[in-house]
């Protein structure tokens, strides 16, 4: 815009400095964890006395890490896929169909994100004990499903609201059956919402501790619980190696999804505001 003004103006310079300081604050713990994960010492030390990759190999020593990874992947994948499929139906009803009490229905469906997660875990474990299905993998899946369903609903409502209904009407007027029009016209337009909704549902389930801590016992275990326990009992850099690996994988996925489907612009567009959708608030 007005580059010369931006340089001359001390306020703009102050904003730039504040922005960079905020970004440094956001990145510093991540970068620091990465550095100490390559340390050779038995304990976390800075600066490291030597460099080694052995803590990466040591990730395998986290208690029951194999079972925990498998259960976490199973629960997060199922929760992500089922939540996204259910959300397609919900979003179509909320955006395209004449549904009575739309705002209320939307508020109810997205309200699990607003209640304290611990409250959800507590309510569910009491209910599952009463039903006699507590501490099973499917009761854990149900708990995660309730928690994550709001995220794909939000992203799908946003991408439907941004899409163009007249394209479907055009397809219909050219003789396409409703189902054909849905799969060839509507669904492709929902793709960014599908991808980022699934991604968020998967990641939130994969990382969840407060619900799982109530719903998990005995042989059933998930990754956040085992990593949390390891952190509270050990002081070696293994969790740092785990964190670094997690962050690198996550960054690759996000950059790839942003390049391919611009998921970030979609989520910025879906933030509420005078012009934004309100039914998902």
């Amino acid at each position: 815009m007005r580059r010369s003004d931006a340089i001359a103006n001390p306020l703009d310079r102050g904003i730039a400095i504040a922005g960079w300081v905020a970004m440094l604050f956001l990145l510093f713990p991540v970068l620091f964890t990465t550095v100490v994960s390559f340390g050779a010492g038995e304990l976390i030390e800075f600066p490291p006395s030597g460099w080694s990759l052995r803590w990466y190999a040591h990730i395998g020593e986290i208690h029951r890490v194999g079972a925990a990874v498998l259960y976490s992947l199973l629960i997060a994948s199922c929760a992500g896929v089922i939540a996204t499929l259910l959300a397609v139906g919900i979003a179509l009803c909320l955006v395209r169909l004449p549904l009575p009490g739309k705002a209320l229905v939307g508020a109810f469906i997205t309200s699990p994100v607003a209640v304290p997660i611990v409250a959800l875990g507590i309510a569910l474990i009491q209910f599952f004990i009463w039903l006699g299905i507590s501490f099973t993998w499917y009761s854990l899946l149900i708990g995660h499903l309730v928690l994550v369903i709001a995220y794909p609903v939000r992203t799908l409502v946003a991408s439907l609201a941004l899409s163009n209904p007249s394209l479907e009407e055009a397809a219909a007027s050219l003789g396409a059956r409703p189902l054909i029009a849905f799969f060839t016209v509507t669904l492709p337009q929902m793709k960014p919402g599908l991808i980022s909704g699934f991604l968020f549902a998967f990641l939130i389930s994969f990382d969840n501790y407060p619900i799982s801590i109530f719903l998990v016992r005995g042989a059933l275990t998930v990754l956040p619980i085992e990593v949390f326990n390891y952190i509270s009992q050990n002081f070696d850099p293994t969790p740092a190696a785990f964190s670094t690996l997690y962050t690198i994988l996550l960054s690759l996925i996000i950059v790839w999804a942003e390049r391919r489907w611009s998921i970030i612009s979609l989520s910025v567009a879906s933030e509420g505001g005078p012009g934004g959708k309100r039914s998902d608030r």
Partner: protein, 294 residues
């Protein structure tokens, strides 16, 4: 039915079937495993303790115990205090960050947005662990403060209320920055330009034009940050101590340690109600003061 037909002239029988098929499975899931468990929890919190038979079978004794329990009262006060500080600091850090994002060039903006998004999607345990090592006795913050001569010996920073606040601010920054950024993007640049051409200083443009117009985003971010802090559980568990327990931890320990289900339920219900009341009061204040449509 008649009024419905008038209000919804386009609802055909086929559409009614479509709504039932599309919404049905999710409705069954959420009613069975979300609404009913919460109603049962509410009922549990109103259950009389064994031995004292109430006339209707309803009693508020768990809520009375809540008000008289020193530990619950202290945890609640601490949770409110922490949430207030976290909201304030997160806003102070995120608003300039969002302003910078709007003005920055394409490359920096994309890089910053990806960093914010990765942070948002990242594991909470991983992020808290980062602060655990950063604020450790021999960690970089202590080393820097000693090198600068501010401290003589390492200060114990982890397992405290302060460490909990720092980690929660770190957690909340993307939740605050992204809605503010979205709101700032909607402000037409011509407004700032015309204010400037009428003689407003850059500071006045921000204070009198940009800040009021960014209110929908600020409001969304503030409410989200406050609610996240009120219900924080993992962060105080990792960076605090039993002496700095927040209200979610006290509720959880009633279930996991004390096995006092009705009392734990009462704490959880109280937390939900208090958070809700504060958010509604805040909404009314913002509407009145800023005349913003939020």
């Amino acid at each position: 039915m008649v009024t419905e037909a008038v209000a919804m002239p386009r609802q055909r029988p086929g559409q009614r079937l479509a709504i039932a098929c599309l919404l049905g499975p999710a409705a069954v899931l959420l009613i069975a495993f979300y609404a009913i468990p919460f109603i049962r929890m509410l009922a549990e919190s109103l259950l009389p303790a064994s031995g004292t038979a109430g006339g209707l079978g309803i009693s508020f004794e768990h809520y009375e115990r809540l008000a008289s329990s020193g530990r619950v009262r202290r945890a609640l006060a601490r949770t409110l205090r922490i949430s207030g500080w976290v909201t304030l600091w997160t806003l102070l850090i995120s608003f300039p960050l969002a302003l910078y994002l709007v003005r920055a060039g394409r490359t920096i903006r994309t890089a910053f947005l990806i960093a914010l998004f990765v942070s948002l999607a990242s594991s909470l345990i991983v992020r808290n662990y980062g602060w655990l090592v950063t604020l450790a006795d021999a960690g970089p913050v202590n080393q820097l403060l000693i090198a600068l001569g501010v401290l003589k010996a390492p200060l114990r920073m982890v397992y405290s209320e302060g460490a909990t606040i720092v980690a929660l601010v770190h957690y909340a920054i993307p939740f605050m920055t992204l809605p503010i950024f979205a709101a700032l993007l909607r402000i037409p640049p011509s407004l700032s330009d015309s204010a400037a051409s009428l003689g407003a200083t850059p500071w006045r443009v921000i204070r009198d034009v940009i800040w009021p117009l960014s209110m929908p985003g600020v409001f969304g971010g503030v409410v989200l940050t406050f609610a996240l802090s009120m219900s924080a559980f993992v962060t105080p568990l990792m960076l605090g101590s039993p002496a700095t327990a927040m209200i979610s931890q006290v509720a959880a320990e009633q279930f996991l340690v004390q096995l006092a289900f009705p009392f734990g339920s009462a704490i959880v219900i109280a937390l939900v109600v208090i958070t809700f009341v504060i958010v509604v009061a805040f909404t009314l204040i913002v509407r009145k003061v800023f005349r913003a449509q939020v």
